[in-house]
Symmetry: C2
Amino acid sequence: MRKKAIVLLSGGLDSATCLAVARRDGFECHTLSFDYGQRHRCELTASEHVAAAGGSVEHRVFKLDLNQWGGSALTDPAIPVPKTGVTGEIPVTYVPARNLVFLSIAAAWGEVLDAHDIFIGVNSVDYSGYPDCRAPFIRAFAEAARLGTCAADENWQWQIHTPLQHLSKAEIITLGNRLGVDYSLTTSCYDPDTLGRSCGRCDSCRLRHAGFVEAGLPDPTLYFFSQEKK
Amino acid sequence: MRKKAIVLLSGGLDSATCLAVARRDGFECHTLSFDYGQRHRCELTASEHVAAAGGSVEHRVFKLDLNQWGGSALTDPAIPVPKTGVTGEIPVTYVPARNLVFLSIAAAWGEVLDAHDIFIGVNSVDYSGYPDCRAPFIRAFAEAARLGTCAADENWQWQIHTPLQHLSKAEIITLGNRLGVDYSLTTSCYDPDTLGRSCGRCDSCRLRHAGFVEAGLPDPTLYFFSQEKK
């Protein structure tokens, strides 16, 4: 019997690659996406397609009302998504404690499934300043999860796999391309139009497009190219 | 301006006492309850009453579909609530990773409110074997939360207050009684009837009732005394 893993899927390029890596490593993959009131709803549809194409044995969407208190440009319509380029600081697109919440819920499902491996596509190279994407957080989370679940009494460890942690966007795309990921199914834009097309100007679009250029591969993304701050 | 705290409220005796301690310690209290598909729904009504009586400036109920995957007698109608007394092992009433999930969501709200203090009524004396109620978990969580939120960049710490950690149920009741907690508003039963009355036989009812007896105070709980395994 194959070992079970939970793979967090955002509908984006990174988590689609993560799923391909988990499959390559022999895991039976159970995928999990979050409906947390994000303004880019098309990522939930993208997640379903990525799960199906990537061989997930079970895909779940967990509803979570994180937009009830706002605090991020991704969940609060009153805060505009920045289009002026990546800075070194924590940007307004940071969703408070998002990966802490997502990983905790993954651990809850993992306990029920008896899956002790969780894959998450965090990255510290092109990550634009989110604290919950860094390796020290992931290590500390694994320890908190061990102590706060049956793992503490049953003497096992949570393995939080972050295969993309130290890869550039171009390296991620090259890896996924080799593993057969269909990136045309994925969406990365923080501020897509109603058709699900990408703005081409937010941090996430800029990083994605530059990655395809650097990897020397065609970018399959549909852009509408928003005109603000060109 | 008073310092803000988030206080987790379950509708039970412990968290009501926790709120009274947080208020005694001078915090402006924002209370948070979870609608996670628990079979004892009357605890949500109890939480509202406890919040109002305990001086919460804002009470939120966060909906969370933890019963979608079952795994606990408290969320899965297929698993009966045990009525035979407390054992040393992790009981079937354990909800996988519950406090990990609850604290993570409290941290998310805390970041938005600029509240860096969280009160949770966990206890290691009468706690009936839940790993997520132990002090090492709470410490590890505070560190994971620090590294996974703005605290990492802004150089502050999360304070997870567990004022009941080392108190017996009788000591908790004595403390709350001194601080004016109205325990008739609280409910502890894992398996109440449709009127919200307590079964008197589950682990939680047994611990609660014994606490009042030991504290020498009248137990204001309405019991219907379930007849199984008397």
